[in-house]
């Protein structure tokens, strides 16, 4: 069982402005989405998970390891983070080399790294591009390469930063299945995301952040039922819920299929 635990975590970049206030969370097994406006502290929180930043106060444990005692590179095999912008990491001339970079860094043998990388590329349907130059791919393909580059390291915890940006329906469907598969393998999947439709369809648990605090946390269905708090965090409901409202359906529907079933009963 994989677990991230935070205890009274606060963080500020300088002494003046507090970015995160007293965060107490236990994240385990269920795919979890962290949502909130820009500047709510989501990115800072995942950087803390990843050990890229260390809490100003409190402690964070990644599967029992206190992040304060390890460098980000040492934590890399325990927790993976896919960055939002592929341009921030791509530097090799071949997709396969780019994907193998992480696995080799964390000490996998060349054969194992290659094998894992091919597996990872297959998971995101990019294996046919393995000898291409990543800079020749389009943005959504580059993003899939960066996802594969983290999958190949096979960390038990994986965080996606805005995975759906630039993805078309096919890409989103692929991601949705990927996240479900990873969860089924027993991995803990987290994401920070603005795409409420994707959250509603994919994640079992949702955490709402506002101004550095967790203001709502629970099963996604219950979270979106609390419309007033969602509005308070200046977020929108998923489109399918907005649509349901138009039809006068009061209960929370999270997917198009649910809405159709509901409508057929009327």
């Amino acid at each position: 069982m994989n677990e991230i635990k935070t205890e009274n975590v606060s963080f500020s970049y300088d002494q003046k402005t507090i970015v995160l206030k007293d965060i107490n969370l236990t994240l385990a097994n269920k795919p979890t989405a962290i949502i909130g406006q820009n500047g709510a502290g989501k990115s800072t929180l995942v950087k803390l998970f990843k050990g890229l930043l260390k809490p100003t106060e409190g402690d964070i444990w990644i599967n029992g390891k206190n992040t304060k005692e390890f460098t980000a590179a040492q934590l890399a095999s325990h927790i993976g983070l896919v960055f939002q912008n592929p341009g921030d990491q791509i530097f090799k001339h071949k997709v396969i080399d780019e994907v193998m970079f992480g696995p080799l860094n964390i000490g996998q043998s060349r054969e194992k790294a290659y094998q894992n990388s091919i597996e990872a590329l297959k998971k995101v349907h990019m294996e046919k591009y393995k000898d291409e130059n990543p800079y020749d791919l389009n943005l959504s393909q580059q993003k899939l390469v960066t996802i594969a580059s983290i999958l190949a390291m096979d960390p038990p915890i994986i965080i996606f930063d805005e995975p759906t940006i630039g993805q078309d329906d096919f890409g989103k469907e692929l991601l949705k299945n990927l996240i479900r598969d990873l969860a089924a393998e027993g991995k803990l999947v987290l994401t920070i995301i603005h795409d409420m439709d994707f959250v509603a369809e994919t994640f079992e648990r949702t955490i709402v952040m506002n101004q550095g605090e967790v203001i709502l946390d629970g099963p996604t269905r219950e979270v979106f039922a609390k419309e007033d708090i969602i509005k308070l965090a200046k977020l929108d409901l998923p489109h399918v819920m907005q649509m349901a409202k138009v039809f006068g359906i009061e209960e929370t529907v999270l997917t198009v299929d649910e809405l159709i079933t509901r409508l057929q009963r009327i």
Binding site: K50, A72, A73, A76, D88
Partner: protein
């Protein structure tokens, strides 16, 4: 994130015309070379430093002076010991003899350098880059050059924040960036690769964006911002230029 070296303070130097300050900077930096006289260079240096004090930015210059210390010490050593005109020994430091002639030359060089740094400090620390560029463009400088200067001033902080993100991304993939020298050298390519690619892509995008907004249009350009009122305008610039010409004439007839 701080974009430039500009220090916002309320002073008479801040309120002065950017072009006047720029003219002062150039004249003050060059004239001590035209007139190779210790006392004269020293007075100009004091003038530049007092302008810094007047602008309440002298403290910001101290790290820059300290940084130049290495160069200054090198000058003293090289000139003091090895200058070809050296004949009069001044003092001994262990087995090494320092000569009067070389040290005199070194002191002049040092005064000139400190003066030059201070004069540039006056412009850079007390002038908002936008004001300076806009003033120059209004004077007839090509907006292209104005854009180049503006983007150079912006690119450093922009790059450093980009490098931060890239470093995070590579550390997330298990790249050690701290510790032994060999570790750091190995980390260089994964860090610099994306920086260069991102910069190239950003440059292309930016030039397209500029072109879309008519950057190369041949029409006379107007200015978005209201003209600011500055102290010490044209007459002072003219005065400075006259001083400059005066120095040249003095040198010719000397």
């Amino acid at each position: 994130m701080k974009m430039t070296l500009y220090v916002a303070k309320n002073s008479i130097v801040h309120k002065s015309d950017p072009i006047t300050k720029l003219t002062y900077c150039l004249v003050a930096a060059i004239v001590p070379y035209i007139i190779p006289n210790h006392l004269f260079a020293f007075v100009i240096m004091l003038l530049s430093i007092s302008l810094l004090l007047l602008g309440k930015v002298f403290r910001k210059m101290i790290p820059i002076y300290i940084l130049s210390l290495f160069l200054l010490i090198t000058i003293v050593i090289i000139q003091g010991i090895f200058h070809p005109d050296n004949v009069t020994p001044l003092f001994m430091l262990g087995p090494i003899t320092f000569y009067q002639e070389g040290l005199l030359i070194a002191s002049l060089l040092i005064i000139r350098i400190i003066n030059m740094l201070s004069a540039f400090g006056v412009v850079i620390l007390t002038t908002q880059p936008d004001d300076l560029i806009e003033a120059l463009v209004k004077k007839g400088m090509s907006p292209r050059i104005g854009y180049v200067i503006g983007s150079v001033l912006q690119i450093i902080p922009q790059m450093s924040s980009m490098v931060g993100t890239i470093m995070d991304a590579q550390r997330s993939r298990g790249l050690e960036t701290e510790g032994k020298l060999s570790t750091r050298i190995k980390a260089f390519i994964p860090l610099i690769g994306p920086v260069i690619m991102n910069s190239l892509i950003a440059t292309r995008e930016r030039s397209i964006a500029l072109e879309i907004r008519g950057f190369n249009s041949k029409r006379k350009k107007t200015f978005l911002r209201d003209e600011k009122e500055f102290l010490f305008g044209k007459p002072y610039q003219l005065l400075l230029i006259l001083c400059f010409i005066g120095a040249i004439i003095w040198r010719i007839f000397q």
